[in-house]
């Protein structure tokens, strides 16, 4: 399991943690039932406060990615196939939204974007 925190990023640390775990789950790097490090153990490994990791886990639990059992720890929750697809799409949607906003600012129109996407999908 790999979680890397950036101190210089403007994103709050708890968000960095939860989004990295989120993407690991969505990409399938973490499987249902896999156990996550304890809140305190993770805080120690990342050298952040316990409240930060707690908050990250709470968010993940709210969004249904993990579940926490008193005394046992936190585990990757059963992911509803449909919901999973939805979550994956949401990630792409958020990124595309940024692209659209930026395009408007820079004055680039839809056709140029479509061209660009085509080329990128072929090259990558």
């Amino acid at each position: 399991m790999k979680i890397i925190i950036s101190n210089s990023s403007t994103d709050p640390i708890y968000e960095q943690i939860s989004s990295q775990i989120k993407s690991m789950i969505i990409k399938g790097e973490l499987h249902v039932g896999d156990s996550l490090p304890s809140i305190r153990g993770l805080a120690r490994d990342l050298q952040v406060s316990v409240i930060t990791t707690k908050r990250a886990y709470e968010e993940l639990e709210k969004e249904g990615f993990i579940e926490t059992m008193q005394g046992k720890g936190s585990f990757v929750a059963m992911q509803n196939k449909g919901l999973l697809k939805e979550k994956k799409l949401k990630i792409i949607e958020d990124k595309l939204l940024e692209v659209v906003k930026e395009s408007r600012l820079l004055g680039i129109d839809y056709n140029e974007i479509e061209e660009m996407l085509k080329i990128l999908f072929e090259e990558v």
Binding site: Y14, Q47, V48, S49, V50, I51
Partner: protein
């Protein structure tokens, strides 16, 4: 674990006024403030080294004076200076201290001695400051204390030592039944590890909140002097003007962003920034 309510203490030239804050089980609280702001006084009041004028101090839910012995049995205390009997050896000092605690764990003490590379037979006046600190920490940790109170434990230590001590604190806090209360003016130490920060200035509590919330709600604004209008000045929590621009602290970064947008740089603050600007303001 530790609950202070409306603590007051008056001295000739200085006063602690209405100090209140609370530390729950399982967390680390950093106690920050400029020199002379009342940090050490507050800690001395908690340990009943000084008599309070009014207010209540509860440790483990019990009054700190009525249950003084019981409470201190479960507190591991570390001063900024060793305050040991300098002519004694570590072993002799330990033999004086150990019988006072009902839960002294000799095995644990020996383990810390080994981890900290301390030699029992060494005389205390031959130890460096860092080693004295580690010894103090070893004692504080060897009687199953539930609350560790440290008064400026890292001042005077080099950054490597300081990191080591922070590592030790991290291992203590793995046990969610323990808490750590840690006063310092070296805020970089707290930036990572602290769960809560209590900031005291001129004898009064400025805030006592979750560290993450503090760092999120404040921001440092940097811009050109042309942008610094009088109304803006008023809304800032403190600023510094130079020939090439200004730097300020705000607790409403959205307002600043809406007002000045691209013209200024808005950055994540450090605890030092927050302390500096707020203390300056008073």
């Amino acid at each position: 674990m530790l609950k202070i309510e409306n603590l007051n203490k008056k001295f000739k030239n200085f006063e602690i006024k209405d100090v209140s804050f609370e530390l729950k089980k399982g967390y680390i609280m950093g106690f920050i403030g400029p020199n002379g702001s009342g940090k050490t006084t507050t800690i001395k009041l908690i340990m009943n080294l000084l008599k309070k004028d009014s207010g209540s101090i509860e440790v483990f839910g019990k009054d700190n004076i009525k249950f003084e012995r019981e409470i201190k049995d479960r507190i591991g205390f570390v001063y900024d200076e060793g305050y040991f009997y300098e002519d004694l050896t570590i072993k002799q000092m330990k033999n004086i201290v150990a019988p006072f605690y009902t839960q002294w764990d000799e095995k644990l003490f020996k383990k810390y001695m080994k981890d900290f590379s301390l030699d029992e037979t060494q005389k205390i006046n031959k130890l460096s400051k860092g080693m004295k600190m580690k010894f103090a920490l070893a004692i504080a940790l060897s009687h199953n204390a539930d609350l560790i109170i440290m008064d400026e434990p890292t001042s005077g230590l080099d950054p490597i030592f300081r990191r080591e001590i922070l590592d030790i604190l991290y291992s203590i806090i793995q046990d969610e039944n323990k808490s750590i209360f840690f006063s310092t003016h070296i805020t970089t130490d707290l930036e990572r590890i602290a769960d809560y920060i209590t900031f005291i200035d001129e004898g009064k509590i400025v805030f006592s909140k979750e560290k993450d919330l503090i760092l999120e709600s404040y921001a440092v604004v940097k811009g050109g002097n042309e942008d610094l209008t009088p109304e803006l000045e008023k809304s800032l929590l403190g600023f510094r003007k130079t020939n090439v621009g200004f730097e300020a602290l705000t607790d409403d970064k959205n307002m600043i962003r809406d007002l000045l947008g691209e013209d200024v740089l808005i950055e994540k603050p450090s605890l030092e920034d927050i302390m500096f600007y707020i203390a300056r303001r008073q």
